[in-house]
């Protein structure tokens, strides 16, 4: 098992635990949590914080019939159907939370070419922001760029290096507008990452940054 070196920011984790992340960003967080015990521990603590926050609320009265309705519903409860087979496990390079969004192993997805060496797959996340899978060929590099909001990347396969360090399978790049970087894929295989942004138009600019140097030739 490889060691995870780059983790989620506390601010991102708290936003996830409080339910204030977009689904696109939350997907990346959940994927990292599914493989990282350190971050999972922190997320657990922030859910304890959620429990304490819940406890401090001023209770809102429920209607008089609420309890009776609930007890009636219990009477209707059927014992759960015995499930014969366990849910199919995802391939080793697909974190479990991502498996609900794609129906095939990574290599069998309908990758859309963006430019030579660059391909992507859209993921159907509701709400603002977007999430995609990006595949970048070995030796390819993205132009130096900053970010206009929050951007989360999780490496699923391969690796890249940038000004911050080296990012390999399981690692998270949790970036905001304070960071400028120029990722270069340094693995012999293509680098596949799950990327999410929290603004409506940000992916356009992300893809633009990738394509720009190529169309400039």
């Amino acid at each position: 098992m490889n060691t995870i070196r780059h983790h989620l920011d506390d601010a991102t984790l708290l936003s996830y635990s409080s339910g204030s992340l977009t689904n696109a960003m939350a997907l990346v967080v959940a994927c990292h949590l599914s493989v990282c015990a350190d971050c999972r521990r922190k997320a657990g603590e922030m859910e304890l914080l959620g429990g304490e926050m819940l406890e401090r609320l001023q209770p809102a009265d429920l209607s008089d019939s609420a309890l009776q309705n609930l007890l009636d519903a219990l009477d209707e409860e059927q014992p759960p159907e015995p499930t014969t087979d366990a849910p199919a496990l995802p391939p080793a390079d697909v974190p479990a939370p991502l498996w609900a969004y794609i129906d095939k192993p990574l290599d069998e997805l309908a990758w859309k070419s963006l430019a030579p060496g660059f391909a992507y797959v859209d993921l159907p996340c509701q709400g603002t922001g977007a999430s995609k899978l990006l595949r970048i060929a070995p030796g390819k590099s993205v132009l130096p760029h900053t970010h206009t909001g929050n951007e989360l990347t999780m490496i699923l396969r391969g690796s890249y290096v940038d000004d911050v360090g080296r990012f390999a399978k399981g690692d998270i790049a949790d970036l905001d507008d304070a960071i400028e970087h120029q990722p270069l894929v340094d693995s012999p295989e293509s680098c596949i990452c799950l990327v999410a942004t929290d603004g409506p138009l940000r992916f356009t600019s992300l893809l633009g940054r990738i394509v720009q140097p190529l169309t400039g030739f």
Binding site: G19, N23, L48, G51, E52, E55, L57, N69, L74, G127
Partner: protein, 202 residues
């Protein structure tokens, strides 16, 4: 950097976190586990009476409509009943468990899509190194009560806006008129302070 607002001036009045309401000594984790074991409806009613009105209050704050909130509370309560068998008091704490379940229920309804979660049904893992040890959760939960009261107002404020209003960093930044980086800095400081409190002190 953001001195103008740091002293809690008049531009953005800081809403204090509500204090702990009553001294409630009920061990909800034990009670929930006992309910799962025995199927005792009286225990379920006890959980309902305590958590039902809290869940309603929480969901309304997050933005669930008045017309559906009771239905979602009811669904949450039924889920608690059904899933109680998977609740392990050695590895989970009832308040956090119920909070998470209600959070997901509210978000799933509001966004018409499941909030991505990391603990998937049917994939119960063995505890790994680095994860919280049995019983430790309950200690942290206990310390949390005091720790929360120790947060400076501007840190309590971002916690409040995250948990009670479901606001993203960018929304908090816009509402408070401070840079995105400052919102994140405040949340990091608050997290570090809380963690320090329950890891450092006895």
């Amino acid at each position: 950097m953001e001195k103008a607002n740091e002293s809690g001036d008049s531009v953005n009045r800081v809403v204090p976190l509500p204090s702990s309401r009553t001294c409630d000594d009920t061990d909800w984790s034990q009670l929930l586990a006992r309910m799962a074991e025995t199927g005792d409806r009286a225990l379920f009613v006890q959980i309902f009476r305590h958590y039902g009105p809290l869940l309603k209050s929480y969901m309304l704050r997050l933005g669930v409509l008045d017309s559906v909130v009771e239905e979602l509370v009811q669904e949450s309560m039924l889920t608690i009943w059904r899933k109680a068998k998977t609740f392990n008091p050695e590895r989970a704490e009832a308040g956090a468990w119920i909070y998470t379940l209600a959070r997901n229920k509210a978000i799933d309804w509001m966004r018409k899509q499941k909030y991505p979660t990391y603990s998937l049904e049917g994939h119960e893992e063995e505890p790994q190194e680095g994860e919280t040890e049995p019983g430790e959760l309950h200690l942290i939960r206990h310390k949390m009560k005091t720790a929360l009261n120790e947060l400076p107002p501007e840190q309590a404020q971002v916690i409040y806006m995250s948990y009670y209003e479901g606001r993203a960093h960018s929304e908090i930044a816009a509402k408070l008129g401070i840079p995105l980086g400052s919102v994140k800095a405040r949340i990091r400081l608050a997290s570090a302070k809380l963690r320090n409190f329950w890891e450092g002190e006895q």
